[in-house]
C-alpha cells in the first residue's frame, strides 16, 4: 500500500480536531477513488512545475476519470490544472475551452470570468503583439485585490493573485515591472517581519519569490520570456 505522506506536515485545528467520536471513521479512511484522484492531480502538479507539460496533461486528464469523482467539485483541481497548463503552453484557445466547465452550474461566475478575461488578454497579445490588454488586466487585478496585496496587506490567499500578476508580466516579457513588483513585495515582507520580530526573518516563501526574481533576471539577460513563473502553481 502506498504511503499517504501528508499527515505530519499539517495541523488541523478547530472543530475538525474534535470530531472523531467512537461511531465515526478516522480521516485516514478516505474514499480510495478520491485518494487516487488527488494523487494523480498532485503528480500532475509536480510534473507541471518541472516543465513536463505533456505528462502533466495526461495525469490531469486521468484524474478526471468519472470513476474517481463522486461530486462535480472534485474535478475542479484537475480542470484548473489543465487551464493553467494551456496558459503555460500559450495555447489560449484550449485554455478558454477548458474554462467552460467553470461556467457551467455556476451561480456567480465572477472569478471564472475574471480568469477568462486574463486569458483573452493573453490571446490578444499573442495575436497582435500588443501587450496593452495584458497590462490593463494586471492593473485590474492589482486594484480589485489591493486590500489583500502588498503594499497594503498579505494573507494566505494573496499568493494566488501575486503569482497570477507575475505570470502575466512573464508572458509579455515585462521583466522590469515584474522585478519591481517582487521588490515591493519583499520590502513589505521585511517591514512586516521587523514590526513583528524586530528583524527580517526570511523563509521558504521568500526563497520562492527570489527564485522567480532570478528567473526574470535570466530571461531579461537572454531576451527570452515565460520561464520565470513556469514553476508556479496557480
Amino acid at each position: 500500500m502506498k504511503r499517504i505522506n501528508f499527515i505530519p506536515k499539517i495541523m488541523l485545528l478547530g472543530s475538525m480536531s474534535m470530531i472523531l467520536g467512537s461511531n465515526l471513521v478516522c480521516p485516514m479512511d478516505f474514499d480510495p477513488a478520491l485518494v487516487q484522484s488527488v494523487r494523480l492531480v498532485h503528480e500532475a502538479q509536480d510534473l507541471e512545475v518541472q516543465g513536463n507539460y505533456d505528462a502533466a496533461l495526461k495525469k490531469y486528464n486521468a484524474a478526471l476519470d468519472p470513476k474517481l469523482n463522486k461530486y462535480r467539485w472534485e474535478e475542479a483541481s484537475a480542470r484548473g490544472g489543465i487551464v493553467n497548463l494551456y496558459i503555460k503552453m500559450s495555447q489560449y484557445d484550449k485554455a478558454l475551452q477548458a474554462m467552460d466547465w467553470f461556467l457551467e452550474d455556476n451561480r456567480e461566475p465572477t472569478a471564472a470570468l475574471e480568469q477568462i478575461k486574463g486569458i483573452k488578454a493573453l490571446k490578444q497579445y499573442q495575436d497582435s503583439g500588443n501587450p496593452e490588454p495584458v497590462s490593463e488586466h494586471i492593473m485590474l487585478l492589482k486594484e480589485e485585490y489591493k486590500k489583500i496585496l502588498p503594499p497594503q496587506n498579505w494573507i494566505v490567499a494573496s499568493d494566488t493573485y501575486i503569482f497570477t500578476i507575475l505570470r502575466l508580466y512573464d508572458k509579455i516579457g515585462d521583466y522590469d515591472s515584474a522585478m519591481a513588483y517582487i521588490d515591493m513585495c519583499m520590502e513589505y515582507f521585511k517591514k512586516q517581519d521587523i514590526q513583528k520580530y524586530g528583524k527580517y526573518k526570511p523563509g521558504k516563501a521568500d526563497q520562492q519569490y527570489l527564485t522567480i526574481q532570478e528567473g526574470f533576471k535570466k530571461d531579461k539577460a537572454a531576451h527570452t520570456k515565460g520561464n520565470a513563473t513556469k514553476g508556479l502553481l496557480i
Binding site: 499539517i10 472543530s15 474534535m18 478516522c26 485518494v35 494573507i155 490567499a157 499568493d159 494566488t160 496557480i234
Partner: protein, 223 residues
C-alpha cells in the same frame, strides 16, 4: 512498538476521561489513529502518532493559555515520554519545526464554534498566522456543516433512525454528511503543501464553491 501504542492509548483515555466529553473526543481521535496504525498499515504508525500529537500540541497550548486543566499538561508529558523513544522525534517545539502550515476548519452550524470557544476563525495560533507567509494559517468555514459532518459518519442504521426518526430528515442529514465529509477529505488530502492547498482552494473559488471573505477566510458552500 505495538505495546507502546497501546500504553499511549490507555494513558490518553485515562486522563481524558477526567474531563468532559469534548476532551474525550480527543482521546478517541488518538485511539482511532492508533487503532488504524495497529491494523498494520506500513509506514502509517509514526504518521498517525505525529498527527494526533500535533493536534494535542495545539490544544495543549490553548488549554495552557486558558488554564482549563492541569491534567492536560500531565497527559501531554506522559504521551511525549511514551512515544518519543519509539519515534526519535523531538516534540518540544512541534509547531515551529514540523508542520508547514496549519489548517483551521469549522462548520457554520457547529455549536462548538459559537463564541470561538473551540474552533471558528483564528488569526494566529502556535506561531502560525493568516499573515505569515512562512508559517501560514488557513481558515476554512464550511457553510451548513455541523459538528458531526466533517468526517463520514458510519453510525449504524439503528442509530441514524434513533437520531433522525423522520425519514426525510434522515436522508437529508445522511446526504449532507456524505457531501461535506467528502469535501473535507479532499481538503485534507490537498493540505500537504501550501501551494497545492492554495491552488485547490483557488479552483474552488473559480467554481464558486468557495469565496474569500474580508478576514481572508475561505467560505465553502458545497451544499
Amino acid at each position: 512498538m505495538a505495546q507502546a501504542i497501546v500504553n499511549v492509548a490507555e494513558a490518553f483515555e485515562n486522563y481524558v476521561t477526567l474531563r468532559n466529553g469534548t476532551l474525550r473526543t480527543l482521546a478517541q481521535t488518538a485511539v482511532s489513529f492508533l487503532g488504524q496504525a495497529l491494523k498494520g498499515v506500513p509506514g502509517m504508525i509514526s504518521n498517525a502518532v505525529d498527527f494526533f500529537i500535533s493536534q494535542l500540541d495545539i490544544f495543549y497550548q490553548v488549554i495552557d493559555k486558558t488554564a482549563l486543566d492541569q491534567k492536560m499538561k500531565e497527559m501531554y508529558e506522559n504521551l511525549r515520554r511514551l512515544v518519543e523513544p519509539y519515534t526519535g522525534y523531538n516534540w518540544t517545539n512541534l509547531a515551529s519545526t514540523k508542520a508547514g502550515l496549519v489548517v483551521n476548519i469549522w462548520g457554520s452550524k457547529d455549536q462548538l464554534t459559537k463564541g470561538n470557544i473551540l474552533g471558528g476563525y483564528i488569526r494566529e495560533i502556535g506561531g502560525y498566522s493568516v499573515n505569515d507567509r512562512n508559517k501560514p494559517l488557513f481558515n476554512i468555514e464550511i457553510e451548513g456543516a455541523n459538528h458531526f459532518d466533517y468526517i463520514k459518519n458510519v453510525r449504524s442504521a439503528e442509530d441514524w433512525i434513533k437520531d433522525f426518526p423522520d425519514q426525510v430528515q434522515r436522508i437529508q442529514a445522511q446526504q449532507k454528511n456524505e457531501t461535506i465529509s467528502q469535501f473535507v477529505a479532499q481538503l485534507i488530502l490537498n493540505s500537504n503543501d501550501k501551494d497545492k492547498l492554495r491552488a485547490f482552494l483557488g479552483q474552488q473559488i473559480a467554481t464558486h464553491k468557495a469565496h474569500l471573505d474580508s478576514s481572508g477566510t475561505w467560505i465553502v458552500t458545497i451544499l
